[in-house]
Amino acid sequence: MIPLTLADVIYWFNALFTAEGLAGVVFLCMMATVVAGAVFAVTSARLIRSVTGLALCFIGVAGIYYFLNSPFVALMEILIYVGAVCITISFAIMLAEPRQEDQGGRKNAMLWPMSAGAAVLLFWGLTMLAGKAQWPAIPTRINNGSLEDVGISLLTTYSMVFELISLVLLVAIIGSIVLARAGRSKT
């Protein structure tokens, strides 16, 4: 137990109400949102609740992006992940999951030891990674992260990536149309 004197308390209280202290509080709130959403998504037995947890997690991630001074990425995170991905997932659940109650699945005797082992291994790996890895230096800020800068670098430096992504999306659209048309001719 660390001895806590009144002077310490006052020091920490003062440190909290500086710009860095408040920023830290905001950051911790975002992290708490992310972790809470993720835990909710993983632990709940009902899929639709998991989607809600996922949405909460994404909102927290968007908050972290905003905290890191990239409002464009933050808003895109909400628009695409919360507004499109989560809704599409829940749409799929609605179409595919008529029963709500029995979600238990088969209980396996090896489940607990195996998951505990996996958790320990993962923890050990992450600890080793954190301790031993040669971390690259904190990258310098390239630009303001504003919409103009993102657009310019998408169409100059990263134009190849941009084109490739649009190609992938086009393939996905054509593929879904092919699948849907096949389903239509069968019935």
Binding site: I48, L75, L79, I87, L147
Partner: protein
């Protein structure tokens, strides 16, 4: 106290926005009932106060004094989260709407994107509410709301994209500033920017009606088929909050239409621009939304989806291509 200092302005704008949303929700219900009454050759509410003007207060008191029932079979967490998820994003969107050049909660550069980002969360609220209610009507309503929103978000975003292309900015205040002067400088009349401007306003307005679940597109809340749709199991203020969210979304949709197409806070004759012009245009548009609701019957669901996928989306894409071609031509000559 300095009103322009950061924390004070944050608090003031937050309180003002919540008050504005609540006041609008209360009095738009009155407008809706009064308008419906007169359209159907009745009087509408008249007992409480002069012209029934105190009716919203009576309604609010009634809703708040009712018990908040959580039925036995529902998913308790999702059931309680859903109304919040509908209302909070709507209130967030109000923060960036410029009522006048200076009267804006937060004049951020990505205002338009922010409104669409938070508007897309709204449907998640309806979905969770409907699914969490465990009621067959509510579930059908949730499925309808989602497919409707997916269908109408596409043409709306594509239309807005063409507006962003001609105005080169996502800042709502800047978009309004570019429409200064006489009313033929408003985006809806700018045929020199895009030949299909009036058509794109129409598409935007139709999409806005569908996104806010208004008649003739209120398939998610079709009383004659689904009781009250996703809100069937809600009582008291739970239902009230959904209602507030719905009206807040209508106000945001109309405000966006006014800002993007009708010149925002600009005066039609180039003199004395200000928040009064914004409110006049906004409420005229909201009135037309009410008017449409009580004039047209509800469409069929396949009609609704066909309208979006077969008519509005092709028009939106043609508009986008035409606008970019026109921009390119302007650059050439």
């Amino acid at each position: 106290m300095n009103l322009q200092s950061e924390p004070v302005w944050l608090l003031v704008s937050l309180v003002a926005v919540i008050a504005f949303a609540a006041l609008n929700a209360a009095y738009l219900v009155w407008v809706e009932r009064k308008g419906a009454g007169h359209i159907q050759r009745r009087i509408g509410p008249k007992e409480v106060g002069p012209f029934g003007l105190l009716q919203p207060l009576a309604d609010g008191a009634k809703l708040m004094s009712k018990q908040l029932l959580v039925p036995k079979g529902v998913d308790p967490v999702l059931f309680k989260v859903a109304p919040i998820l509908v209302l909070v994003p709507a209130i967030m969107s109000f923060v960036t709407i410029p009522f006048s050049e200076t009267l804006v909660g937060r004049d951020i550069n990505l205002g338009l994107l922010m409104i669409f980002a938070f508007a897309s969360v709204n449907v998640l609220g309806i979905l969770i509410g409907g699914w969490g209610s465990r009621n067959k009507y509510a579930v059908i309503s949730a499925v309808r709301a989602v497919s409707q929103n997916i269908a109408y978000e596409v043409p709306m975003l594509v239309i807005v994209l063409s507006i962003v292309m001609v105005s080169h900015t996502l800042n709502l205040n800047e978009i309004v500033r570019q429409q200064a002067g006489f009313f033929w400088h408003w985006n809806i009349f700018r045929l020199d920017l895009s030949l299909l401007m009036p058509v794109s306003f129409l598409v935007f307005f139709v999409c806005m009606l569908a996104e806010t679940n208004r008649a003739p597109f209120d398939m998610a809340e079709a009383e004659s088929e689904l009781i009250a749709g996703a809100f069937t199991e809600y009582s008291g203020m739970g239902f009230g909050v959904f209602f507030m969210g719905e009206y807040a979304n209508i106000v945001i949709g109309c405000a966006l239409a006014v800002i993007l197409f009708l010149g925002g806070w600009q005066c039609p004759f180039g003199v004395a621009s200000g928040w009064w012009w914004f409110l006049i245009k906004l409420y005229a548009l909201i009135w037309s939304v009410v008017w449409i609701r009580w004039t047209y019957p509800r469409t069929q669901f396949y009609g609704l989806l066909n309208l979006s996928w077969k008519i509005l989306i092709p028009i939106a894409f043609v508009n986008l291509i035409l606008t970019s071609a026109q921009m390119k031509l302007d650059n050439l000559f």
